[in-house]
């Protein structure tokens, strides 16, 4: 059978007879990589553009239509030492990019206006105490208005829109007092300018917008970067399926190009990327990613298979069904919808703060006006003082207090391998006081590992590893990896469902089922020690060895669990796997609370029970069966190897083999929440100092500008401390 790779799904026309494709590339870190890739790809004839984007870790390629097969670029990159895969921009990411450009444009306009208005304001401030003519002052005020009004109308859009949305939904957020403050400050300044008054606040209003936009742009850039990396990781998983394009002809196509009714081929060692029904063949499949159950299930004609199952022994032909009709998925999706709805009711710290803040500030301003009128001042002066209170309390520092901490903390988490999916994940993670772990794929590694590798002579392990390279069986792959085997043995023959054999130096060596190697005797003695392990035997002549292969705990799981205990969190394992397997893991890790054989609904029930007791649960899980409970928990985390659905649901995703990111993330989140609260107090403290001055009516635009920038810079500097955590996080980085 002929296999071809078909990437035409990702190719788009770039005009003028050119074609374009974007590739996500793994391992691009420096200028050297950038130059190497660009040169290597440009050297291919007919390539017109090869440009690396180092921030997003992607390559954009263009070539003359019909001259090249995109698969060639991927092969070329592989020769250069990079793994690459076509990348399709998700609509969510395209929106983020557009949003980030818009914010940057707003910031540019606001910064331009601030600088020019300041240039006009400083002569006015100094002129008021020297010899400036009133006509000159008015001229400068009018010029300021000319610059500040259109600039604020343009650059204020992000705030006005968000405030309007909040008001339309009958809530408030921080953008409501910001919008009111800016609008009133500008409006009053125009009136004052018409009346030839001494003070106008164009500078303060536009400066406020500039500072807040700096915070928004930084926040947006971090979010965009996280999304780009997450998008790359999804692309590099290279979810492809082998589709029958003719009775005997198969083609490797991206999953996105598969339709219901198509027939796909599933070979041993491959993970199924679609939902469907077996129409031909017989095999064992591993559904642990879906159910958490590590025992293999036998699949033959008529057995449904779900995306994420691993095919173990035989080759299967699968007819693709419509994903929504699959009962397991439908059930999980239903649970997921309910759980997600419950969580969207969470109120962010910033929103809670603005809820208290806006009424207090607006009431203070109103009382100031009333107070001055009662004290005998004119309405005009009273209103001017009232507006001055609003300007000076305009939540510049408050608006920056939380986003800046969030940006710095998510940047630090990003560096230590934790990606944030949800904007408010940091706050919720910091509040978590009970952690529920799933076992399979979360506490254990998703790949199999040879448990007794240390007890086997290095020479035999090496030989078995080389032999294992000739087999597609996942257990064999584990042996090959344990032995770090590189080159396969020439002339090795695989016997389907049995094992591999080869001849080395005149002696026959075999790797496979114990019966295939004549090692049943050895297995009967050893297998009952470890109920969830698979065994694979190796023989060289009369010499016989048994490998015990199982999903191993993550290398640092024990240390991480030990490190979590002094952090005042409850620990628990909820697993869909069998009791002996869960019990063994719980004992090894020292977690006293565990439950085995739990269904997705049971997991949710347990989380709800904990919630009623006032516990805030962090759920760490990876399987598709965990997705609903990930959504039900207060906050959730998934390893990058998780099923698609779980990864999309989890608030945080961590990369790599170690479990350490769980501790790191908890530490960073707690530190960040602490700093957010501290920043809120700093901002409130500033207001307590500034408000009496404003009420007394002696605020000049100079005081307003100085107070506003001073408090904003203080809050930003404090936020920078979120980069490090107090608990010696460096030891976790390795």
């Amino acid at each position: 059978m002929q296999v071809s790779r078909d990437f035409s799904h990702y190719v788009r026309a770039a005009g003028e007879g050119l074609q374009h494709i974007d590739l996500a590339v793994e391992g691009v870190h420096c200028a050297g990589c950038m130059a190497k890739i660009e040169r290597g790809l440009s050297a291919i004839p007919d390539v017109t553009l090869a440009r690396v984007n180092l921030t997003d870790r992607r390559v954009a390629l263009e070539w003359k239509e019909g001259t090249l097969d995109p698969a060639r670029f991927i092969d070329r990159l592989e020769e250069l030492g990079y793994k690459a895969y076509p990348y399709e921009t998700a609509s969510a990411e395209a929106t983020e990019v557009a949003e980030s450009r818009f914010l940057l444009r707003c910031l540019g306009v606001a910064a331009f206006a601030t600088m020019n208005v300041m240039m006009l304001s400083i002569p006015v401030w100094s002129g008021n105490v020297s010899d400036m003519l009133p006509e000159q002052r008015d001229f400068f005020h009018w010029l300021s208005a000319l610059i500040a009004l259109p600039a604020a109308a343009y650059a204020g859009q992000p705030f006005f829109r968000s405030a309007w949305r909040a008001l339309a939904a009958k809530t408030t957020n921080m953008d409501v007092p910001i919008s009111i403050g800016v609008t009133l400050a500008l409006g009053m300044s125009v009136v004052e300018t018409i009346n030839h008054a001494e003070h106008a606040y164009f500078d303060a209003a536009i400066m406020l917008l500039t500072f807040l936009l700096v915070g928004r742009v930084l926040d947006q850039n971090m979010r965009r970067r996280t999304r780009a990396v997450a998008g790359n990781l999804a692309a590099l998983k290279a979810e492809t399926a082998t589709k029958f394009v003719g009775p005997d002809e198969i083609s490797q196509v991206p999953v996105a190009a598969i339709n219901p009714g198509d027939i796909v081929l599933l070979r041993p060692g491959e993970r199924c990327a679609v939902d469907g029904t077996v129409i031909e063949g017989r095999s064992e499949i591993d559904q642990s990613l879906i159910t958490g159950e590590t025992l293999y299930v036998t699949a033959d004609r008529g057995t449904p298979v779900y995306a994420g199952s691993m095919n173990i022994s035989g080759t299967l032909r699968v007819r693709v069904s419509a994903a929504s009709e699959a009962t397991l998925l439908a059930e999980i999706t239903r649970l997921l919808d309910n759980a997600l709805e419950a969580r969207s009711r969470y109120r962010r710290l910033a929103d809670r703060a603005s809820r208290l803040y806006a009424p207090v500030v607006h009431a203070t301003a109103f009382l100031t006006v009333l107070g001055w009128v009662l004290a005998g001042a004119g309405w005009h002066d009273a209103i001017v003082t009232g507006v001055a209170v609003l300007i000076i309390t305009c939540p510049c520092a408050l608006g920056l207090a939380i986003p800046t901490v969030q940006t710095v903390a998510s940047g630090a988490m990003f560096k230590s391998g934790v990606l944030l999916n949800a904007g408010d994940a940091i706050e919720r993670l910091a509040e978590a006081d009970h952690i529920i772990f799933d076992k399979t794929g979360t506490l254990t590694l998703p790949d199999l590992d040879v448990v007794n590798a240390a007890a086997i002579p290095a020479e035999i392990l090496g030989l078995a590893g080389q032999l294992a390279l000739s087999s597609h069986h996942p257990v064999a792959a584990a042996v090959a990896q344990a032995a770090r085997a590189k080159s396969p043995i020439v002339g090795a023959v695989e016997e389907a469902g049995q094992g591999v054999r080869a001849c080395v130096d005149g002696v026959e060596i075999r790797l496979g089922r114990p019966s295939f190697c004549g090692a049943e005797e050895l297995v009967r003695g050893g297998a009952d020690l470890d109920p969830e392990a698979s065994v694979v035997a190796f023989s060289r002549g009369a010499e016989k060895i048994v490998f015990t292969v199982r999903q191993a705990l993550r290398p640092d799981a024990v240390t991480v669990i030990a490190a979590l205990k002094p952090r005042n969190v409850g620990l628990e394992i909820l697993s869909g796997d069998r009791e002996p397997a869960v019990k063994a893991a719980a004992n090894a890790l020292g977690i006293p609370e565990w439950r085995a054989g739990v269904t997705p609904a049971d997991k949710i029930a347990r989380i709800e029970e904990l919630k009623r007791r006032g516990t805030r649960v962090l759920m760490v899980g990876d399987g598709m069966n965990d997705a609903p409970s990930l959504a039900a928990a207060h906050v959730s985390m998934s390893p990058i190897s998780a099923a698609h659905l779980s990864q999309a649901t989890a608030d945080l995703v961590f990369l790599g083999k170690p479990l350490a990111p769980v501790v790191t993330a908890v530490d960073y989140a707690r530190k960040a929440l602490h700093l957010m609260r501290q920043n809120l107090w700093l901002a409130i403290g500033y207001n307590i100092l500034a408000v009496p001055i404003a009420i007394s009516g002696i605020v000049t635009p100079l005081i307003a500008a100085a107070a506003m920038s001073g408090s904003s810079i203080l809050v930003m500097l404090n936020a920078l401390r979120a980069r490090s955590t107090s608990r010696g996080i460096t030891s976790w980085k390795s």
């Binding site: 040169r39 050297a43 180092l54």
Partner: protein
């Protein structure tokens, strides 16, 4: 004070020119890859050995 008639438009004009330059650079995608741009500035244009060996590999 007549000098203001020249100086004020001049100052605003310069500011506007800066703004236009910024918007142009944004539109032409110069902020899309800040990490890469930082390195490109110091990258060598044409290291001869690498290019040739790369070419040779492709031809083979």
């Amino acid at each position: 004070m007549e000098v203001l008639i020249i100086l004020v438009p001049l100052a605003l004009g310069l500011g506007l020119a800066g703004l236009v330059a910024f918007l142009w650079s944004l539109k032409s995608g110069q902020y899309d890859d800040l990490d890469g741009a930082a390195w490109r500035a110091i990258a060598d244009d044409d290291p001869p050995q690498e290019t040739q060996s790369d070419l040779a590999q492709v031809k083979r």
